[in-house]
Chain length 200, copies 2
């Protein structure tokens, strides 16, 4: 044991960080949790948390078993011209959750969010900060600056459509939404997301 | 006890019908359950089930503690010109679930649908048959006939947006959607529903 009570690096350390992060996120939500707080609870140096997970979003994704890397997801959505962002949101969403085990994970998310308030809060703060506001900001034609309230309204409108799609495709399994080819849904729902992100 | 094993009318009979219906819906889903089957299980005359609940949708609403009468809800949505149907869907939805106890009931629905497959199935079949296809059919400009597949696709697309709105307003409580005035949401989301119901 080191004099400062810190653990050596290794697999146990990684696990200890994840457990500490789980507790911190549950207690304080996503926004108020810091890498420093996670490190303190895990008894490791903050640099080690950064080394393993590249930042708060990375730790959170690990804790929630999110099956993708957030930065890559956002990058995939913002690839291509501005007027394709809506379609890209739907396409990326379906690529992630249509993948093996995606359905089960989506069900777990929704179940967690509906039965435990702290999970609802963590997910909400995480989705808004790390995904939706980034996308909403990037979808502004010509890259103009948006006020935070508008960004947030657009982001949350898009979120309602996407979670509803997930509810019917993966949880309630309503046909034809449940088994429609992904590209059909991209064409049908993409324009809605585009409108929310640019006019909402 | 009557020779045919039937109960006399009264409050206990009403309760017995609801219990019988709960079991029938859980076993067979909404579509395959009949008033006759419910009556047989409750040991009453089918006419009595009709007398108390006016039909299958009425029994189901009672079983699920749905806080509205389906026919009146559909009537409210279809009031006014065709190009107002989308806004009316959002307005009626918010009137029902923004009402006292509405939030709690919506949370119970979603929790039931995510944790018990038979509840998901019942809700899905009920919503499609009694609400969404009726609305999708009525939204066709000029009242033209629609093929069932198109009706169903339009209905289920609208359903994804509406349940997603409910998820963020009543369960995950994402701002600004959670506390935005209803009429603002009507203006923002109504056009999406209108597009799904007429072009989806």
């Amino acid at each position: 044991v080191s004099p400062r009570g810190r653990r050596p690096a290794g697999e146990d350390t990684r696990g200890a960080i994840i457990e500490a992060a789980r507790a911190e996120f549950a207690e304080s939500g996503y926004d108020a949790t810091s890498l420093r707080g996670i490190a303190r609870r895990a008894g490791v140096d903050p640099a080690l948390v950064h080394h393993y997970f590249e930042g708060k979003a990375g730790v959170f994704a690990e804790v929630m078993a999110v099956p993708f890397r957030i930065e890559e997801l956002v990058k995939a959505i913002l690839r291509g011209p501005e007027d394709e962002v809506g379609r890209n949101v739907v396409r990326t969403f379906l690529t992630v959750w249509d993948a093996p085990a995606g359905r089960t994970r989506f069900q777990l998310f929704v179940r967690g969010a509906t039965t435990q308030r702290h999970i609802a809060r963590m997910l909400r703060e995480f989705l808004v900060r790390e995904v939706f506001t980034k996308v909403a900001r990037a979808a502004v034609p010509g890259g103009a600056e948006l006020d935070p309230a508008t960004t947030r309204r657009r982001a949350s409108l898009a979120a309602t459509q996407m979670i509803g799609l997930g509810m019917f495709r993966y949880v309630i399994e309503l046909e034809p939404v449940a088994s429609m080819p992904a590209e059909e849904l991209v064409e049908l729902i993409g324009p809605t997301i585009q409108r929310y992100l640019t006019e909402g």
